[in-house]
């Protein structure tokens, strides 16, 4: 975990209100696990909290990493206005538990399900999986065609089978990622997912009785991002304890925490 000024190498719009930012700096060296995130200080003294954003890709050769973010409020709007050459204070990589991409074996049935801006960390995960020779199926859900991103990037990865779902059918097929999941004849060996809480809950329920090793990446409003403020806790499934999403997650095994 480092705190560093990273340089914006590129910042481009890749879908409606959705941007991909490439960052460079020595901190990139420390990135090794999909699912971990960066805690980004947004320009402007009036915004005192950093923004947690998943790492979407890393290129160790070039010393760069990418994040993909959607303009939701003041912070992400300001990120969208950053230009190449700007500096951003970044703390990361954060999170001690990412997607266990080193566990699936080639030949395992590996399914990744991403919804909206939950897609980026799954791209990083897919890159790592295919690097290890694991084939993956990916279901990407978006509201509408204008919101779709990274579908082609996934397609270009070797051994990656991509299904795009849109609510209105304007790209890929009409329906939700849950519809696509339900059409599968059997449960996957591995299931990695990131997206809205409701989607994750449905996925977990869906896989309840299966042999699936399932993992979900969670979001919560954060203060410190490192485990010191108790802002981002969630209860464990036994009700007896809790996890900090920023430190103990942000990825949790099915049933580890209450969704």
């Amino acid at each position: 975990m480092k705190n560093e000024s990273l340089t914006v190498v590129e910042n481009k719009t890749i879908a409606a209100k959705t941007h991909e930012m490439t960052l460079s700096g020595p901190l990139v060296d420390a990135i090794d696990q999909p699912g971990t995130f960066l805690h980004v200080a947004v320009p402007g003294e009036d915004l005192v909290l950093r923004r947690p954003i998943s790492i979407a890709a890393v290129n160790q050769g070039a010393g760069t990493c990418a994040i993909v973010y959607k303009e939701e409020g003041d912070g992400t709007e300001r990120l969208a206005r950053c230009r190449a050459g700007d500096q951003l204070e970044v703390l990361g990589p954060l999170g001690n538990q990412g997607f266990p991409v080193e566990e699936p074996l080639p030949g395992d049935d590996v399914l990744l399900i991403g919804g909206g801006v939950g897609v980026p960390p799954l791209y990083f995960a897919t890159c790592e999986l295919v690097k290890r020779g694991v084939s993956v199926s990916v279901i990407l859900g978006f509201q509408t065609a204008a919101a779709v991103f990274y579908a082609r990037a996934f397609n270009e990865l070797p051994g990656c089978d991509v299904h795009v779902m849109t609510d209105d059918g304007s790209n890929g097929r009409a329906g939700t990622v849950i519809d696509a999941l339900n059409e599968r004849p059997y449960a996957p060996d591995w299931l990695f997912s990131c997206g809205p809480r409701g989607m994750l809950r449905a996925i977990e329920t869906n896989a309840a009785d299966s042999k699936t090793h399932g993992y979900v990446s969670l979001e919560e409003r954060m203060g410190c991002g490192i485990g010191a403020c108790f802002a981002c806790v969630c209860e464990t499934n036994d009700g007896a304890s809790y996890r900090k999403i920023c430190r103990d997650g942000p990825v949790f095994a099915f049933k580890e925490v209450v969704l």
Partner: protein, 307 residues
């Protein structure tokens, strides 16, 4: 790190290398920040508010951003006094830095139990009674708004405490100096202020409060002028040492607080903006002393023409 002797301050129970400590609740029990810098750089460490039993805290979202500030409604989540005694304080004992143990409770008895449990932890230099947490129904705020209740609580704790006792004052009152006088008379060894101001945010898009708890405590630079005013006012009426806080994020802010009447400062929210803020401030303080040409930080106090 070399320590500048001009920065040393000795407060009851807290021999500090410099006048800067992280504020309670913004630094947990030090483990996370210890991965980032050497905790011995700090003047002291104020630990997370500790209650008699473990508390699970409030539902999430627990934080919300506001202009130059934030709201929190953590709800005093903590592992309880015994676990703090057995698992957290020993970790901090690895560092040569005094601990200010922040104590919370729903009843005077609970405060007493916490103090009794932590009394013999060797690295606890002093207690800080959080009589001002706005975020739990029974988080002590009733003690913070009534001088008599505050005094009674202070007395009860003083009776059992083997360490100096600081009382942390709430800014959500008409007259903070009345509470200060009451706890001073009851035997407090020091004051800390300010805790957070009760606030609220609405999400205009959904028409609902942003925090699950609806209301939360406002902290950060936004509250700095209120903190300075309260510290200034309290300073006029007491000789007790004051640990000042509320929006400190730079060495310049520290100077403002010391001039206004604080003896040392605590840094809360700014740790989230920049996790290295405390060591950074500490490193920048000597330059300010050079610039202001003072021999010791204790000399910064403004005497106040009008007082």
């Amino acid at each position: 790190m070399e320590t500048d002797p001009r920065l040393y301050v000795t407060l009851p129970g807290l021999p500090m290398k410099n006048p800067v400590m992280p504020a309670s609740g913004c630094f947990a029990f030090g483990r996370e920040y210890a991965e980032l810098f050497d905790l011995e750089e700090l003047g002291a460490v104020a630990i997370k508010g500790t209650t008699g039993e473990a508390r699970i805290g409030n539902p999430t979202p627990r934080v919300a951003e506001t202009p130059s500030g934030m709201l929190n409604a953590i709800g005093l989540q903590n592992p309880g006094a015994q676990a703090v005694r057995d698992e957290e304080l020993p970790f901090l004992a690895n560092y040569d830095v005094p601990v200010l143990a922040n104590v919370s409770g729903s009843t005077p008895e609970e405060y007493v139990v916490v103090v009794q449990t932590l009394n013999d932890a060797p690295n606890v230099g002093a207690f800080e009674l959080n009589i001002s947490c706005p975020n739990v129904k029974e988080g002590g705020i009733q003690f913070g708004t009534d001088p008599d209740a505050a005094a009674a609580l202070t007395e009860a704790v003083k009776r059992v405490s083997t360490k100096p006792v600081y009382v942390k004052l709430s800014p959500n009152v008409t007259d903070v100096t009345a509470i200060a006088r009451a706890v001073e008379a009851a035997g407090a060894n020091g004051l800390t202020l300010i805790n957070t101001l009760l606030g609220m945010r609405i999400d205009a898009g959904t028409g609902k409060p942003v925090l699950a708890n609806e209301k939360g405590g406002l902290s950060g630079p936004a509250v700095k002028p209120i903190a300075l005013r309260m510290i200034h006012d309290v300073r006029q009426g007491t000789k007790l040492p004051i640990i000042g806080m509320g929006g400190v994020q730079s060495a310049e802010d520290v100077i403002e607080f010391l001039v206004a009447g604080a003896d040392v400062v605590a840094v809360g929210t700014a740790n989230f903006s920049n996790p290295f803020v405390c060591p950074t401030i500490i490193r920048e303080l000597p330059e300010w002393l050079d610039k202001l040409d003072v021999a010791h930080i204790g000399a910064l106090r403004w005497q106040g023409e009008k007082i």
